[in-house]
Every structure is written in structure tokens, then in C-alpha cells.
């Protein structure tokens, strides 16, 4: 059924449809409507599970991960400062091989205080061992949450679905909210290990020695590698069931392109709309959307970009002292490409500033004219 809803409510609908058993959350702008909507669903008897109204995000993640290890389906949502506060427990949720699913609404990190879209909050959780999926619109947010439960419960790693503040979280658009029966078929009742069985007592997370630690890390890395296959597989099955899929990366008009723009999340939509206009003006350009950030889809990106000579990465985040984080990741992924490539990073939309078609065009013109890439990023302003 089509509903005219915000990205936040799309996420809440997905959590309901997946018959989530434990939700533990704490309010933070701009995530709060997810928490409120789930509370409303719970009050109306539509959630089915238990809603834990926590006193902090840190505790919310502690409750989610321990509930997940008990063997139930768990969800939480946060943003920015809340995600930063959770940081310790993010490592924990992954290391303990829980299947927590979380929505993170990208928001600027203080200082200075602000409430706008910026990807640095989730990207700075890169090394916590979470799967990360970046959404382009409200529909993708809903669909990705449904996929996330299947992925996380299959590979036993937590999964973060990332949507941007306001552009997705509060922006309303028509969203197809699938039938319960279809979702039930796609996401069967949870079947993950129950770590705390009184008839079979075990010690979860005892202290390990050096070699044991290394071996556990290795197992987690293998799970991340497996996740690449699982994400692809879940997406294909999703497409068969619901008639739409996303892939880990998406390529548009890249075959004959002189320049390929690489984007994530909502900037993709703008670039997507600008692409035919610029092609008409004679720019032979293509577009690649990176949807999955961890595990990083290196092979999928190399398949598309290995022989492309000019690449422009446009992104709404920065690792201070370096450049945009996707740009660094992409450079590393393409380091072994057979041809010499010119990869230029553009910082666009930092702090939630607008990235309009005009800005995309300016980036294209700059990238086409540029004889050599700069080592650092180029700041795009109005």
C-alpha cells in the first residue's frame, strides 16, 4: 500500500512489519519520530514486542545487544551525539556477534551544535564492525531495514541503516509499505543463537588471551567477507519478492563515460536527475552510487571503475586532516587498477548545505578540465 510518509516513519513501518521483539531507544533530533512512531504502534498493540524507554543511547545499545544474544529480534535508532555516545557498545555489539539492527539518521556532530545532515557521525563508526547501508530515499530506507534484519541475522553482525537528516528523515514522499504476508515470508521468525540457555550454561565473552583475540577478530572479518555475498543475495531475493532492488553499488551510464561521479545517499538523487541534462550538453558522464560502506564493496566498484580515467567523488562528510571518507576509501579500493586514474574529491553539502544541480554541473566542469587531481579535497560552496 502506498503511504505518504517521512523517512523516519518509513523506518518505523519496517520495524513493525519485521515483528521486532525488543526496541530500546532514546530520543534525539532528528531520529525522534522513529521512536515516537514505534511508541504509538506499541500503544496501539501493533508492535507486538517490548519497548524499552532507555535513559541513554549507550544503555539502549547495551539492552539491544544483550537481548539479541538472548535470541530475539532487536532494533534501535539514533543520530549524531547519540551514536557517538554508543561508540563503546557498537564495538561490543559486533564483537559479541549480535544481530542488532539500528537506524542512524545522519546529523552533524558538535561542536559547533547543529541539526543538519552530515555523514561524519556514522562514517566515524567505520571500524566498529557494523554493516552500514546508506539510503537514497524513503523507500530505500524502509526496504533497507527489512533487508538489514535478514542480513544481520544471517551473518551475525549488527547492521546500521543510514538515512540523512531532514532530506530523508523528515521529507515526505509516497512509500510503498508492503503487505505483512509478503514481509513475513521474506523475514521469517528470528532464528539466531540463544546464548543464555539455563539448560546449557555457557560463558559469553570471557576474557581471552592474545591468540584467542586474534582468532576472534579473524572470524569477524570472515563474517564481513561473507556479508558481501549475503547482502547481494538478500537484495536479489528482495527484488524478486517486492519488485525493487538496489545492489551494493549502482552504475548509471558508466560504460562510455569520460568521467564518473561517485555519490552516496541523497546527493545521488540530485546527480541522477542532473545526468541526462549534462549528457545533452555533451558531457559524457556516468554515475556510481555506493550504497554499502561496510563491508566495502571493493570488487563491485572495481568492476565498474577499473578502466575509468576520471572520477569525481561528491560527499557530505570529512575526515579532518584528510578528505571525504568515501573518497579515501575509493582511492584505496582502486589502488590496484590497471590504468592510471584521476580521482578528485569534492566536499559538497557539508553541514547539511544544499547540493543542487548547478553545483553538480560545476563539479563536472571542474573535473573535466582538471589535468591532475589534487591530493586534498575541493570545497564546494554556493
Amino acid at each position: 500500500m502506498k503511504k505518504f510518509i517521512s523517512g523516519n516513519h518509513a523506518v518505523a513501518e519496517a520495524v513493525r512489519l519485521c515483528r521486532t521483539q525488543i526496541v530500546a531507544a532514546y530520543p534525539i533530533t532528528p531520529q525522534t519520530p522513529i521512536y515516537e512512531k514505534l511508541s504509538e504502534l506499541e500503544a496501539g498493540g501493533e508492535l507486538g514486542g517490548i519497548m524499552m524507554r532507555m535513559e541513554s543511547e549507550h544503555s539502549a545499545m547495551a539492552a539491544c545487544l544483550s537481548a539479541s544474544l538472548t535470541g530475539v529480534r532487536t532494533f534501535t535508532a539514533t543520530s549524531s551525539q547519540g551514536l557517538a555516545l554508543m561508540h563503546e557498545m557498537l564495538h561490543f555489539a559486533s564483537g559479541a556477534r549480535s544481530s542488532v539492527v539500528m537506524a542512524n539518521v545522519n546529523r552533524t556532530l558538535a561542536a559547533p551544535w547543529a541539526f543538519w545532515s552530515d555523514q561524519t557521525d556514522s562514517l566515524s563508526q567505520r571500524d566498529t564492525g557494523w554493516i552500514q547501508i546508506y539510503c537514497e530515499d524513503n523507500q530505500e530506507a524502509l526496504d533497507s531495514v527489512i533487508q538489514a534484519f535478514r542480513i544481520a541475522e544471517k551473518v551475525l553482525l549488527p547492521c546500521m541503516v543510514v538515512l540523512e537528516a531532514h532530506y530523508i528523515s523528515h521529507f515526505m514522499e509516497p512509500v510503498d509499505v508492503p503487505d505483512q504476508t509478503l514481509v513475513d515470508r521474506f523475514v521469517p521468525p528470528v532464528d539466531i543463537p540463544r546464548r543464555f540457555e539455563v539448560d546449557n550454561p555457557r560463558f559469553s565473552l570471557g576474557v581471552v588471551n592474545q591468540k584467542q583475540y586474534r582468532d576472534f577478530r579473524r572470524l569477524s572479518q570472515e563474517a564481513m567477507e561473507l556479508a558481501l555475498e549475503v547482502i547481494e543475495d538478500v537484495d536479489k531475493k528482495f527484488a524478486r519478492t517486492f519488485g525493487r532492488g538496489y545492489g551494493m553499488v549502482e552504475a548509471v551510464d558508466t560504460e562510455d563515460a569520460d568521467l564518473v561521479l561517485v555519490t552516496t545517499a541523497t546527493i545521488t538523487s540530485t546527480a541522477r536527475a542532473t545526468l541526462p541534462i549534462l549528457r545533452e550538453k555533451g558531457f559524457k558522464i556516468g554515475l556510481v552510487k555506493i550504497r554499502v560502506f561496510r563491508p566495502f564493496p571493493t570488487q563491485a566498484l572495481r568492476k565498474i571503475l577499473d578502466n575509468v580515467s576520471k572520477i569525481a567523488v561528491i560527499e557530505r562528510n570529512i575526515s579532518l586532516g584528510r578528505e571525504g571518507i568515501f573518497c579515501s576509501e575509493l582511492k584505496a579500493a582502486l589502488a590496484n587498477s590497471p590504468v592510471r586514474q584521476q580521482i578528485q574529491g569534492y566536499l559538497a553539502g557539508i553541514g547539511g548545505t544544499d547540493v543542487d544541480p548547478g553545483m553538480i554541473e560545476r563539479i563536472v566542469v571542474d573535473a573535466m578540465e582538471r589535468k591532475e587531481a589534487m591530493d586534498g579535497p575541493i570545497w564546494m560552496t554556493e
Binding site: 563503546e88 560463558f203 570471557g206
Partner: protein, 293 residues
Amino acid sequence: MLTETSRPTEVMRSGHLACPGCGLAMGMRMVLRALGHHAVVVVVPSCAAIVSGPFPNAALDVPLFHSAFEVAAPTAAGISNALKVQGKDDIPVLAFAGDGGTFDIGLQSLSGAADRNEDLIYVCMDNEGYMNTGIQVSSATPRFAWTGTSPTGNTRRKKQIMEIMAAHRIPYAATACVGFPEDLMNKVKRAKEIRGTRFIHLLSPCPTGWKIEEHMSPKVTVAAVETNIFPLFEIYDGTRYEINHESRSLPVERYLSLQGRFRHLTEEQRLETQSEVDQNWKVLNAKASGYAC
């Protein structure tokens, strides 16, 4: 009384990693004996986590989870709620945290859980300092006591954690110690019969940190009770106080002199300690006699 023929099944095995004479290990053993095998236990960084054993060994014969330092309560709450969702409503979940994990870094999350009246038993193993990291001062360390980070004596007074828990109006809170094992185990059993957040403040001497001999842990806590430094009492619903042991109100000197950590105290500091203990005892008795209701 316990005899060889009536010895109960132990939940805590021998071969655990506590130091010789550890009051905390004794306390855990008694708590678990009263709790039984049909339970899930959470430990957090503290001596309790070390006592529980290194991977792949386990000293506790119950499903056990070693969570992060400051989240004993929400971790236990997550498990407790998940068990309920699975229809396993009859499995108690108990969390062991140290005084650092309770009085200091875990206070917020404990308060949150108590406020929501989460269904769990929380046992604070209070050895009055960060003993697992090698004896540093915590807000549970008594005034004037020596620790590695209060080398000239602690300047702060011990935080009144029972009053904080009472303020949450949780159904049950009790103090206990290893010198009164039957009282301790009865309190765990009583806690088991109640639902909601139950809190047990368990005084657990640390021979290394308190500078006492290895056989002295139970005796020192008896002295703590008999001098009114650590009275045995219960609080029902945060308002109804019951004192469980009629103390002999011995001078505090009888407690302080047993421990090397108080050896440096001046006469003035001893007097101050005495007057503080007297005052606290008066307040507690007033509450127990219904004054606070």
C-alpha cells in the same frame, strides 16, 4: 546451619580466579547458592568478572555474560525482557557489578533501570574501591581510607547508595555481607520472590586493598555490622525500612583497627568517623521506626 550432609549444590565452582581470602568470591558463592541454577547472570568489568574465569573456562555454572563496565543493569534488563518475549518468564536475571560499576560509572544506567523497575536482581559487590585495577579510590571508599589514588587518605565520604536506590522506590533493596551468610542468602531468596528491580548492597572485603589477613574477610564485615558502620537492613518500596540485626554498637575503632588501610588515621579522624557513624545510625533507626513513612 549447614552440615556436610545438607550441603547445597554449588553454582560457583572451585578453581575460580579470586585472590586468597577474597570476600567478593565468598559473597558471589553465597548469592549464587541462594539463586540456584535456573538463572542468567551478568558480570561487568570488576573483580566479579575476573573471578568468573577466562575463556574458555567458567567458574559459574549458569549462563553468564560479561558485558561492558557501566551497563550491568541495562544488559540484565535486555536479557530479562528478551526472555519474557520468549515466554521464559520464570528465569531470574542477576547482575553482579562492583562499587565502581555501581556508585560511579554505572550509576546512570542503574538509575534508568530502577526507574523503569526492570525485572532484575542487581548485586553490588562493594569492596570499597577499584580493586580490580589495583586499589584506587571510588565513591564507595570510606572517608580517610588509604588507596593508591588517595595516598594520604580519602577526603570524600562514602556515597549513600541505599538512599539513592530507595529514592527510586524500587520494591526491594537490602544490605548484606559475608559475615552473615544466612542473612545474605535469605535476602537473595526474598529478592527472588519479588518482581521488578531488586538491589543488594553486599560488603565484600578485599584482603589486598583493605590490608587485612586472608582469613579475616567475614570477621571484618561482622565488625562493620556491629559498629554500625555497615548496618544490615532492608528497604521495601523505597519507604519501609527494616533493620535485620540488632547491633552491639561497638566503637568504630573495633572495625578500623583490623585494617591496614586505616592505620594512619589521627585521633581526630577516628572521632569524626565515630560521630558520622552515630549520626547515620540515628537516621536509619528513625526511618526504621516509621519516622520516614
